[in-house]
């Protein structure tokens, strides 16, 4: 049992000493449970995967939950997740860096539960190599 005190030493609330489950984290319920660091990732508001690839698709400059990278061609990169999503319907925000050739953003992306493919381009076609990144939210 955890007892929380204010600065005057008065007991404010007592919580049972039990850990939240993945399902409780995803549902944002069971407020009397505690959340250890390895469960924070299951909260709906936390990105389940994110990463940024170098322009040549050769290097992941930073990432979370990405196990490998595939350079599909010029401006076309695929991020492969280590821990997959439990659905193909999850949110992925993607971005392209650099606008010297008027790249408007990601021309398109394709995703499965296991991977996300990002293509930098404009007006219906992939343009050229650009640093690209993403952040994905959803249920795992």
């Amino acid at each position: 049992m955890w007892t929380f005190y204010n600065s005057n030493g008065e007991a404010l609330v007592q919580h049972a000493e039990s850990e939240a489950t993945q399902a409780e984290m995803e549902a944002s319920t069971a407020v009397a449970k505690f959340v250890p660091p390895d469960l924070v990732k299951y909260s709906p508001g936390v990105a389940k995967a994110w990463g940024e690839a170098s322009a040549d698709g050769a290097t992941l400059l930073a990432n979370f939950n990405v196990g490998s990278l595939t350079d599909n061609g010029s401006g076309d990169v695929e991020f492969n997740y280590t821990t997959a999503f439990s659905s193909i319907n999850y949110g992925a925000a993607t971005y392209v860096m650099g606008n010297n050739d008027a790249v408007y953003g990601n021309w398109g992306y394709q995703k499965t539960a296991s991977k996300l493919r990002c293509m930098a381009g404009k007006e219906g076609s992939v343009t050229s190599d650009h640093q690209q990144g993403f952040a994905a939210f959803g249920d795992q």
């Binding site: 050769a58 290097t59 196990g67 490998s68 595939t70 010029s74 492969n80 439990s86 193909i88 539960a113």
Partner: protein
């Protein structure tokens, strides 16, 4: 550093796969990237390819996994997930597991090569192809 060259057999076009050092380290070391208790469910998630799979998984992921048992994708996913959980692979085995698991849909084969052998000029990147 080794890379995976995925080859599209129709025209020998290549895609280049790079395994993160952390992933390679888990596969060839003691794993630890996926909890042992989550192995089966994690394999099932990697088999979700469309909306029908998604419904089956949500209804009963264990039955969904059983229905996919023995398929090529299930075998590949199992090797990857078990490797990430338990490790114990040689480097060659680890690259083979990653090559099979991340093979792009339009490619049919792969080669493992040193990245020093790749062209440094990407101007004609979309013209890269594989020659034995």
């Amino acid at each position: 550093m080794k890379v995976i060259i995925f080859i599209r057999n129709s025209d020998n076009y290549v895609k280049v796969g790079r395994v993160l050092p952390r992933t390679l380290s888990a596969l060839t070391g003691s794993g630890g990237m996926i909890a042992e208790s989550n192995i089966e469910r994690e394999i099932a998630k990697h088999l979700i390819q469309n909306a029908t799979d998604e419904v089956s998984f949500a209804t009963n992921w264990s039955s969904f996994l059983t229905s996919k048992k023995g398929t090529e994708r299930e075998v590949q996913s199992r090797k990857f997930v078990e490797g990430m959980a338990q490790g114990g692979l040689t480097e060659d085995q680890a690259f083979a597991v990653m090559a099979d698991f991340t093979m792009p849909d339009d490619c049919n084969s792969y080669q493992i090569v040193e990245d020093s052998g790749l062209p440094t000029d990407r101007y004609f990147r979309n013209a890269w192809d594989w020659e034995d």
